[in-house]
């Protein structure tokens, strides 16, 4: 094969391998960082939207709609204030409401949240639109003291179908060093089923029957007044015992549509009641991401700074190599290379560094995004599918090459202006 400009560029790059590798790595890290941030940004939002599934509204007595969503969908904390059964019935009996699923939080097992709810939770509510609950093993509730475990909760606790446990009042996790908590030893629960992963925060929750939760808390209250009071049954419960901390609500839709024009109407009417908070999960998540987007922009700006730094790195690498290459350039000029061709050689070399960095960076970014997604799934139970449209990748790669070419301008001008006579030998 004949010698070509690319042969010269390739030899120049391999001739100072350490400098080339470090420069490419710097560019790759910048591109990779940018890739991870961009690819996870939208994926993260989508993952957060999964948990609210097909509900339109969440109703609670929390302090704000955002807190209501964080507590009700992401199990951030147990809601402190309950909604009465009577109020719940009023909400559920509204003809514009397709379904209203009551739930109660407050108990836990080994620090994992317990959501007490009705069987409708599994039959009507889906954790993601069009993705119903699926059991990995066992069954949904058969009796009031049956439990269904989220996939991650099952893995963390090591519980299997048929195991029996006692729930803890509150979220205190004595095992993790928290304060000793009250354990409902009088009531034994049995694991009836384990769910398939859903990629939402529900995976780390334990689901119990709302009736059982009412019974054990009614028992606690009555024992506090009279230590000899008998264990209550479902028949003994009064409306004062039937407290809920949240309601998942879906309005009537036309033909199974995802949204309903009734949602804002119902929400508006419910908001007239100051004792409850009504939240539209999607809107609250959007708000949350608006807040987070400031951080997002700072991270993107940092990635851009790293990009520019890597451009400066390219410039310095080529600039430093110029001193050693002046003789080579002078020889090439003697052999017939024009000044513009020498200029082009250095600029192309710079662009090649950028292209190598971009290619490595996209690979690195892809791996990084997968790793970050893995960590998010492991730690948060969120299924994030990192994705960046092909045109974005092309734009990123092209921008990197352009930036690298710009960084090569100064060394290229130096090469262009290299004096042949001065660099071949002392003038005799």
């Amino acid at each position: 094969m004949a010698m070509s400009d690319l042969t010269i560029i390739g030899r120049s790059l391999t001739g100072r391998m350490f400098s080339t590798v470090t420069t490419v790595v710097t560019v790759a890290v910048a591109v990779g960082l940018m890739f991870v941030l961009l690819s996870l940004r939208d994926a993260g939002r989508q993952a957060f939207e999964r948990g609210s599934g097909n509900m339109h509204l969440i109703v609670s007595a929390d302090t704000s709609p955002l807190v209501s969503v964080l507590n009700g969908v992401f199990y951030a904390n147990a809601p402190q204030r309950p909604i009465t059964w009577e109020r719940f019935r009023q909400i559920a009996d509204d003809g514009r409401v397709e379904w209203a699923i009551p739930n109660q939080q407050g108990d836990s097992f080994q620090g994992l949240p317990v959501l007490a709810t009705t069987p409708q939770f599994f039959t009507h509510f889906t954790p993601a639109p069009g993705e119903p609950w699926r059991l990995a093993e066992g069954v949904f509730f058969e009796g009031p003291f049956d439990l269904v475990l989220g996939a991650r909760a099952a893995r963390l606790t090591g519980l299997r179908v048929g195991d029996e446990i006692h729930l803890t009042h509150g979220r205190s996790d004595a095992r993790a060093g928290g304060a000793p908590a009250h354990v409902h030893y009088d009531f034994t629960y049995r694991v009836a089923g384990i769910l398939e992963p859903t990629g939402s925060a529900h995976d780390r929750a334990i689901f119990s029957d709302l009736r059982a939760s009412w019974i054990i808390h009614a028992h606690d209250r009555r024992r506090a007044l009279d230590p000899n009071s008998p264990r209550p049954t479902e028949a003994d419960l009064t409306d004062d015992d039937r407290l809920v901390t949240g309601v998942y609500l879906r309005c009537v839709t036309r033909g199974g549509a995802a949204t309903s024009p009734l949602v804002p109407v119902v929400a508006s009417e419910l908001r007239r009641d100051p004792s409850i908070v009504v939240a539209e999960p999607k809107a609250e998540i959007d708000k949350l991401f608006t807040i987070v987007s400031n951080v997002d922009q700072v991270l993107l700006a940092m990635a851009a700074v790293v990009m520019v730094s890597s451009g400066i790195g390219i410039m310095l690498a080529l600039y430093n190599s110029m001193e050693q290459r002046r003789r080579q350039i002078a020889v090439l000029r003697v052999l017939g290379a024009s000044r513009p061709r020498i200029f082009g050689l250095v600029l192309t070399e710079s662009a090649v560094l950028g292209a190598l960095g971009a290619a490595a960076g996209l690979g690195l970014g892809l791996l990084g995004a997968q790793a970050a997604a893995g960590v998010m799934k492991e730690r948060l139970g969120l299924v994030v599918l990192p994705s960046l449209p092909l045109d974005w990748m092309v734009v990123m790669a092209a921008a990197t090459v352009v930036l690298a070419s710009l960084a090569g301008l100064v060394p290229a001008v130096m090469a262009y202006r290299t004096s042949v006579a001065r660099n071949l030998r002392p003038i005799g």
Partner: protein, 225 residues
């Protein structure tokens, strides 16, 4: 009409700064194809500068340099560079081989800028190196002996079939025996390539090798014989 001379110089003058004495001043000089000439002069007398002017790598203040019928400084930019690559070969005291490139690649580098078809480069460079006694064509310059490096440098200078080869103190760093061998090589290679050779040196022992010789002082005022 006779054959076009490989080199013709008329009234060439060059000074580094306006108003300063000329570093190079050549009244007239002609070199026929295949002719070989030694140009002598002490250090700092402008020998290498003259070669740079002939190669079109520096601009004269006055006068003409004609190589193979072409007024060198009438060409500009890339055209002059391509002309130099095709018509002029250069040999240096320190060889100035491209480091990191094999002997073969060093010779092919000269062909890169010539009109020789790319598909012929490798074969042509390989044959030339073989003819000049370089066996390890894939060795890098630093892996070759000084003598072998010199052969590569000569091969590169004549690779494009130039009309003129300029040799700038080609033996200055060699002992007398190797210097003699190197000059044998250069002169034979130029003769075989049909190229004129203009060799500049401050070594007086080189004189007997050349039928034509002159000092820069002589050239500055008269047409050499």
């Amino acid at each position: 009409m006779g054959e076009t001379p490989a080199l013709r110089i008329d009234g060439l003058r060059f000074a580094y700064r306006a108003g300063e004495p000329a570093v190079v001043e050549v009244g007239s000089l002609a070199l026929a194809r295949g002719e070989q000439m030694l140009l002598t002069g002490g250090s700092g007398r402008g020998k290498s500068t003259l070669l740079m002017l002939i190669a079109g790598l520096m601009e004269p203040d006055a006068g003409h340099v004609v190589v193979d019928g072409q007024v060198v400084h009438a060409l500009h930019g890339a055209k002059r560079d391509l002309f130099r690559g095709r018509a002029i070969g250069m040999i240096f005291q320190t060889f100035n081989l491209l480091h990191g490139f094999s002997a073969l690649e060093n010779v092919m580098a000269a062909l890169m800028f010539s009109p020789v078809p790319k598909r012929e480069h490798r074969e042509r460079a390989g044959e030339l190196l073989k003819r000049l006694g370089v066996e390890r064509v894939h060795a890098k310059p630093e892996e070759l002996s000084v003598g072998q490096q010199q052969r590569v440098a000569v091969a590169r200078a004549v690779a494009c079939g130039p009309a003129l080869v300029l040799a700038d103190e080609p033996t200055a760093s060699l002992d007398p025996e190797n210097a003699a061998n190197a000059m044998d090589l250069i002169q034979t290679a130029c003769r075989d390539a049909g190229a004129a050779l203009l060799c500049v040196s401050h070594d007086p022992s080189m004189a007997e090798r050349f039928e034509r010789r002159a000092s820069l002082d002589e050239l500055s005022s008269a047409v050499p014989a």
